[in-house]
Every structure is written in C-alpha cells, then in structure tokens.
Amino acid sequence: MKAMILAAGKGTRVRPITDEVPKPMIPILRKPVMESIIELLRSHGANEIVVNTSHLSSVIENYFRDGSQLGVEIAYSYEGCMTDEGLEGKALGSAGGMKRIQEFSGFFDETFIVLCGDAWIDLDIGEALRRHREKGGLASIILQEAPREEVYKYGVVKLEENQRIVKFQEKPNPAEAVSNLINTGIYIFEPDIFEYIPSGVEYDIGGQLFPALVAAGEEFYGLPMDFQWFDIGSVSGVWAATRMALQGKIHGFQMPGKQVKPGIWTGINVSIDWKQVTMTPPVYIGGSSKIEAGAKITGPCMIGANCVVENGAEVTECLIGDYTRISGMASLDKKLIFGGDCISPDGGVMNVGEAQIRWLVDDMRRMLNPGDLHDMMLFSNMLSFHETIAQEKEVA
C-alpha cells in the first residue's frame, strides 16, 4: 500500500517548539513522532511514502532522506518557493497537497493511506484497510471516542448504523457536537477521491473535502477503532505523551538508552555521581549529559543529551531539551526547556534571553558574561542569606 504523511503544517498550537522543529519532528523521548509513524507503516507493508513539506522542510528532509535507513522509500513534495531570502513555504492544505502529488505523477494508483504527522499511534493498519474495503467507500476516516469537553479540538462525525458518515463538523463547540467520535487524522482513500479536490488551490481535508463528500452523498465511512493515539499537536499534548511514555503507559513504546536502575534510563557517556544525586523515577537522561552531585531530579522527567544539571539544581517533572545548562540555583517545576524558552504545559512561555536569566538556564555551550555572573551572585547571596536567617530562627 502507498502512503502519504502530512507534514507541511506550521504547528501554531505547538509554538514556540515549532519555531525550530516542524511538528512531525517533535520527539517523544528522542524519537520524532514521524519516525514512529514510518516504522508503523513499514510493519504493515506500506513502503512507498510521499511526504508533503513546507514549514522547516529541510529538518524533515535531512533527517529521513530517501528513507533507506528505515527500510522504506520516501519522496517529498515541497510546497513553496525559493526566494532571495531563502525558502518561503506556501502550504496547499492537506487535500491540496495530495492533489499536487497526484497531478505530478499519478502516484496514488491504488487504495492509499494518509496520516497527519502529529500523533503517536499503534493502529492495526491492515485491519483498518480490511474494514475500509468491506465498506467499499471512496474514503474512510479512522475514528476514536473522545471526552465531550475535548471534541472542540477535532473533527467530529455522525454515523448512520452502517457507519456511513452523514455529518462532519470541523472543531465544533461541545454543545453543538453531533457525537463524541473524533477524526484521528488517519484516512484511507480510493484514487477516485481526486475528483473532489480542486486543482491548484489551498484545500483542506477536514474543513472542505469531508463536508463536500457528505454534501454529495458520497460513500464515506467512519471506522471507530481501538488503538493508542497520543496527539502531540499542542504543547500540553507533547507534555502528556512524554510523561505517559516515561511512566510506561504507552504500550509497546521502546525506551531509548539503557535502564541503569529501576525506572532510570540513560544514554551512553553520561557523567553522574549516583551516590550524591537524588533521583526519583521515572527519569531518562540523554547521552553525554552531566548530573552533578547535589542535583535533585524528580520524575517523570526527561533530560536531553549534552545537558549539565549543576549542584543544587532542582528539576521536577520537566522535559529538558538538548544542550541545556541548569544552574544550581534553578528550581524547575513542570516546565519544558526548549530552544531558549521555558514553557509551561498550559502554554505560558518565558524566553531566557528576554528575561535575562541565562545565568539560570541556558545553552550549555554559551559562556556566562559579567552581567550574568553579577545577577547570579546577587540572587545567590540573597538566597544563602535568607536560608541562614531561616536556620537561625529554627535554632532559636
């Protein structure tokens, strides 16, 4: 079977992470979610995969190249143009991206699967294909049930008894939602679907193509299926999925590195004073990272590669990106540190440069300047003074 992965979106709900990393490349414990999708496709015999790219296309293209290292064949359909300032993305929408590929080469010449590159899944693709063929429709959407209060984030469908879709709502408010069956961003199509997609214009699968299929009374089915689906389409989603992986709640998820103690995994070449660090599992520490004596790490926590966690630092339930230095004075609680930003799972963002706290959290390759050192001394003195007073009060 042939496949397409939708990877051209800007990922605005995952900013600022997606300022540097396109959404499909967001990792769950080091492995980009798109890599897991490709492995799943391969395991179900879908070895020819076209990927549409636009925003930060080179990050995707340089990572997967022609797919040979993953045992598949990958080709890219870039949406945008080269200008004097460099590449300028101009995404065609999910359906528009499909149409562009079809008009270019007629690639989709049999039943094919299209997946959004923004979720970790373990769908039985063979079973989904079997059900699609049994229904005999032009298109099938793989569905899952969601809690009512969350349907506003997704496409919602109303099914007839034979699972034919009679209504499709894109991101309805919960009061108006016709069901709690949501679109997981996984579709199976027949090549005739292209009759419904206009040429050369931006066209969206959820917002335009599906409502058009319903309006035309087309053979269009919803297949509710039971599988694990972890949406990383938002900062809170990335946060939740990584925590679940660390806690062993994602069935079949391969932990990276080696388990060196119960619930503690590390990459190679780590420098950790095990006797003098306080570590509460589950914790993953990437290769070439250093955890100094006196550091306190409380899981579920992921420290990336090449990080330094200094003596005295407190890191609680955090996701720390590669090459991060965490000063001994820092107290990080439920934060994502990524590309110079300190991000809260609810979306609050503090840039460490703007807030001038590079002395506290920064790229470990950057030297501290005199201003940083001044601030560090000021706060550090204040804290020790305060702690001394507190101890004296306790003694008294």
Partner: protein, 112 residues
C-alpha cells in the same frame, strides 16, 4: 514607570501599572521605591498583578530593595501570576519574598 501609591493603615501599597518590568524601567523603579523607604515607609506591599513580564534586572532591583528594608519592615509581593510568578519560582525568590495572591489577602493575613 507608571504606578500609584496609597496608604492603608501601616501599609504602603504600590501598584505597578506597567505590563513590562524590564531593564528599561528597573532604575526608575528602584529610585521610586527607595524614596518611599527613605520617607519612612517600611511596610511595603508591591501589587504586580498587572505585570505580564518581568526580567532578571527588575527582580534584581526587588532583591536590593529587600536588602534595604532589612529587618526594619516588609516588602511583600502581591498578585504575581503567569511567567512573572514563574520567574520568582525558577530563581527561588519565592522563598525569599513574602508572596501573596493579592493586596486584600495581605491586609487580611498580616492584620491577623
């Protein structure tokens, strides 16, 4: 730096009316509070509930003001929220300053 000052009982309440407290306002901010301290106010409540962003230089000013107050009185921080509250926590200054949710609760708790 836009702010207003009022007195309630023994407390001097300074309400910051800026959305950003950064290096651009830090020196003026320091002078302004230092003058209040010099004028005899020694139980200060700083209402920063309108502040959306604070950087290390403004937090540093708060620390030096706290030193000035010393044992003579209080410098309490009211209404820190979002990334402003985060800044206090990240730097552990939430352990050094007396942090309260809002001015009302300061007056309540301290009076009690």
């Amino acid at each position: 730096m836009k702010h207003s000052t009022r007195t309630e009982g023994e407390f001097t309440i300074v309400t910051i009316e800026e959305s950003r407290m950064d290096a651009a306002v830090a020196p003026e901010f320091k002078n302004c509070i230092a003058q209040l301290l010099a004028g005899g106010a020694n139980r200060l409540v700083l209402d920063i509930s309108s502040v959306q962003f604070m950087d290390s230089s403004s937090l540093g000013v708060l620390v030096s003001l706290l030193k000035m107050v010393g044992n003579r009185g209080d410098l309490m921080i009211a209404g820190a929220k979002g990334i402003v509250a985060d800044l206090f926590k990240l730097t552990r200054m939430d352990r050094v300053f007396r942090m309260v949710p809002d001015v009302g609760s300061v007056l309540g708790t301290v009076a009690a």
